[in-house]
Symmetry: C2
DNA sequence: TTGTACGCGTTATCAG
DNA sequence: CTGATAACGCGTACAA
């Protein structure tokens, strides 16, 4: 520190200027404390001219907790996860909480970083899909740090979860593809390993079955991750045999759908929706672009963010409450790939 | 708080267990303090069994500063800004700093939130392009809070700035378009109001002029913002008169280029690169997708993030140092829209 | 309602 | 190298 003069006013300075005790200043800035309107006014005025702000670090220390919430997410390049960030920050702010960003892309560093986060006496942690392994979340809960998650399997005892209605989304996709005339169906995405992918696939297959579609008319094409490249790869696999190629495809995410669409158009000359119909999941920005106009199942990011913050702040005030699992409704967005 | 029992071990607990003084514990966890290897080992062992973590709030308080850095950014949906977030978090973490996310989309709330941030005794602030007005940044500097910015005009005294080499990028685009046979040129984007847009445009026009292109062969198409829609609009404007339509177009950002490309293809039947050539700026994910394969000027997000963190941490240790303005090199990424 | 006195968990200082 | 003690800025019992 080159500049040693303190650049902030402290409560004592304000007290001296207002001609009151230091406690009076403290009480003025403590919600629900008893101060006479007169002193309160004098304190506020002095605080304003001195540009006084309560030192939240000190307040946090004394109260044994902080107002910081760790937001741990991986693959920020994933458009959907990026879309989630803004509403999370907004709803946290509305409750006086502040988001600390924690990138979980490097698993080794993540464990260390999460450990470090414990030093900050954070009020809670929000984890989004595909982020750190459950074992790390468990460590938090063992230390009584509230954990809330978005789009993850509700496997962790004591953690709240909000999931988009993947099952209903899959069913919606099935119905729309069926109604627009498809007869041979496919699902593309991680339907064995990934939680959301599996639910979406199940909802899809269930609904198709109820619609009377026979099993041999449904192809399940697995992939390890939900990427553009996975979609391209699946297209080459599924469209190679023209005789048995599907004409109604549901992809686990929009990025997969985009990859599928591009490869189907370029390599196999397929047109959407004339030759085949396609539905994605998420409703990311790209889906609306003119070159795609992808019909998709939209997740409501604001609902997801609001719920996760709501549940987390409940658990912050009462750590031992029963874990909650909420389901956020999804909606079908009709664009050009479903006729 | 329902659970009153303290869930964290404190230094005193560790000291008692290790049979040493509190100070010994403190020194063990203070980098550069002198402890004998023997005590150090005993402390570390006790700390491990008790799961002790230094309370950073308390440490911050006594040291009069925190390790939090406000990262204020607007429009997180903007892919480029989202891409910047991960490397910023990474480089901050490498210096023991933690990013506090601050969304600046709502200007009213922003001012309030920035005020609130002052209460946290943050170590510094990073601002990205197009975020809050300069007046807010000025408030921080007045309170001796270091400010570093990415892709902004170096107008603010005492704030460090790192910018991509917009001028060179514009020149690169000019050269590539020229070499791939274009004869009528256009620039599309905010070249009057927006700092980066203006620099990119200047570099473009300068280079074209040096290449011998006459002024009446260069069209400047202004827009208020850099959006997909702005690109579409510009295409309708610039391509309406087929006789004077450009065949070499440089857009201020990739999103603008995508909009231009889609509209040019759909409404005017233009093909890239056969009928016209196109270069964007940023190198966002979308640019690489098969339906676009957009040639573009890539910003080096890792360099930007590294520099901004580097300058910020320098200013954290010496607030009065001379302001620095750095330029980050850009590179041309050849894809399918430049022949 | 107001002021005094103490404690929160840590680091810096200083004597040993 | 070690241990005792004084800060840091604030909230809050307690007594007035």
């Amino acid at each position: 520190m080159t500049d040693k003069e303190k650049s902030w006013a402290i409560a004592e300075d304000v007290a001296r200027m207002a001609g009151v005790s230091r406690s009076a200043v403290s009480r003025t800035f403590t919600p629900g404390a008893s101060v006479s309107p007169k002193t309160r006014a004098r304190v506020l005025e002095a605080a304003k001219t001195l540009n006084y702000h309560v030192d939240i670090n000190a307040r946090n220390m004394i109260q044994g907790r902080s107002t910081f919430v760790g937001v741990v997410t991986s693959a920020l390049v994933s458009p959907f996860r990026a879309q989630l960030l803004a509403p999370i920050a907004h709803h946290l702010g509305a409750r006086g909480l502040l988001p600390i960003l924690m990138n979980a892309d490097d698993p080794d560093q993540t464990s260390y970083a999460l450990q470090r986060l414990l030093s900050y006496r954070i009020a809670g942690v929000i984890m989004t899909s595909g982020a750190p392994p459950l074992s790390l979340a468990r460590e938090y809960i063992e230390r009584k740090v509230p954990v809330a998650m978005i789009n993850r399997a509700p496997e962790l005892e004591g953690a709240d979860v909000i999931n988009s209605d993947n099952h209903a989304g899959g069913a919606l996709a099935a119905r729309e593809l069926f109604n627009s005339g498809a007869t041979r169906f496919a699902f593309i995405g991680p339907h064995t390993t990934h939680f959301s992918g599996r639910q979406r696939c199940e909802g899809y297959v269930d609904a198709l079955t109820r619609l009377g579609v026979r099993k041999n008319r449904i192809t399940l094409c697995n992939s390890t991750i939900s990427s553009y490249e996975a979609g391209q790869l699946a297209a080459r696999e599924v469209l190679a045999d023209a005789a048995h190629a599907p004409d109604g495809v549901f992809c686990a995410t929009d990025m997969v759908a985009l990859g599928f669409m591009d490869e189907a158009r370029r390599t196999f000359g397929r047109r959407f929706p004339e030759d085949m119909r396609l539905v994605g999941f998420d409703d990311i920005q790209h889906a609306a672009l003119d070159s795609y106009r992808l019909s998709t199942i939209a997740q409501n990011t604001d609902t997801l963010a609001h719920s996760v913050v709501d549940m987390l702040s409940h658990r912050i005030t009462d750590f031992s409450r029963a874990a909650e699992v909420r389901i956020a409704p999804v909606t079908f967005v009709r664009r050009a790939t479903t006729g």
